[in-house]
């Protein structure tokens, strides 16, 4: 039974690349299949970019979990940005306040086993993603 956590800043586009790399290493390390690795890396990339572009930057804690009955990776993204006024609307496919496709949040949720989001206008957003074996 073990868990190991690595916390990374998300302050630049290069940091988003670094997040993808660390998620990949952790996901491979706990033995997720290639398809599951690809899904969680892609989801992480979406949420990391949102953290940077809309949240004004933040951080992510990347945790590999090996404890009965679960093996996998769990990611917690945090920012102290403007928050999301209407989460339901933001989660909907094709909704964007930027120039994106509006697929990030909804897509990330579909690519994970667990997904949760907390956001408060004026104080920030926290998103948890996990992919279990």
């Amino acid at each position: 039974m073990s868990t190991s956590t690595e916390t990374l800043p998300i302050k630049s586009a290069e940091d988003v690349v670094r997040v993808r790399q660390v998620v990949r290493t952790k996901a491979a390390g706990v033995g997720l299949s290639i398809v599951d690795q690809t899904k969680i890396i892609t989801a992480a990339s979406e949420i990391a970019r949102n953290t940077l572009d809309y949240g004004g930057g933040g951080e992510v804690a990347i945790e590999s979990v090996k404890e009965q009955p679960r093996t996998g990776v769990r990611l917690i993204f945090r920012d102290n940005g403007p928050g999301i006024p209407d989460i339901e609307q933001a989660m909907r496919d094709n909704f964007t306040t930027g120039s994106g496709l509006g697929l990030g949040l909804g897509g990330a949720k579909r690519l994970c086993t667990d997904f949760s989001i907390q956001s408060k206008v004026g104080s920030g957003t926290t998103i948890m993603l996990a992919r279990w074996k």
């Binding site: 290639i34 892609t42 697929l103 690519l111």
Partner: protein
């Protein structure tokens, strides 16, 4: 800033993405490809993504933009080497690549560009 190299191969442009690109690098590739298409009047763009471990919504948007830009400039875009796990993930993400044609590898991608360009050239002649 680093750039992704674009090779000219006959009337085609060839790009092999070998690194995990950050967003500005991907945007620069889109701009560079458009500029080269205009300059070389190429008929095809072949993008090899076999080294890419993921394609997210941003990268998908870049591929779509390249394909639309190429279409306006009368060139066909073919993406080759997409890993099966990437293709599966794209579907679940909900990302569509409407203007992008795909092929298994560089050789087949080149064949696809060739046959598409030849078919277009033939139908242009018919119209005259």
């Amino acid at each position: 800033m680093d750039r992704i190299p674009i090779l000219k191969f006959g009337d085609c442009l060839l790009v092999t993405i070998q690194v995990d690109m950050h967003d500005q690098l991907a945007m620069a590739l889109q701009d560079d490809l458009t500029a080269r298409l205009v300059k070389e009047r190429s008929r095809g763009v072949l993008i090899d993504i076999s080294a890419l471990e993921i394609v997210d919504s941003f990268m998908g948007r870049i591929l779509n933009n390249i394909a639309s830009m190429a279409k306006i400039l009368d060139a066909v875009t073919v993406v080759v080497g997409m890993r099966p796990a990437v293709a599966i993930t794209l579907v679940e993400l909900g990302l569509e690549l409407p203007g992008v044609r795909t092929a298994l590898n560089v050789e087949r991608g080149m064949d696809l560009i060739r046959s598409t360009v030849d078919a277009e050239t033939a139908s242009d002649v018919d119209l005259d």
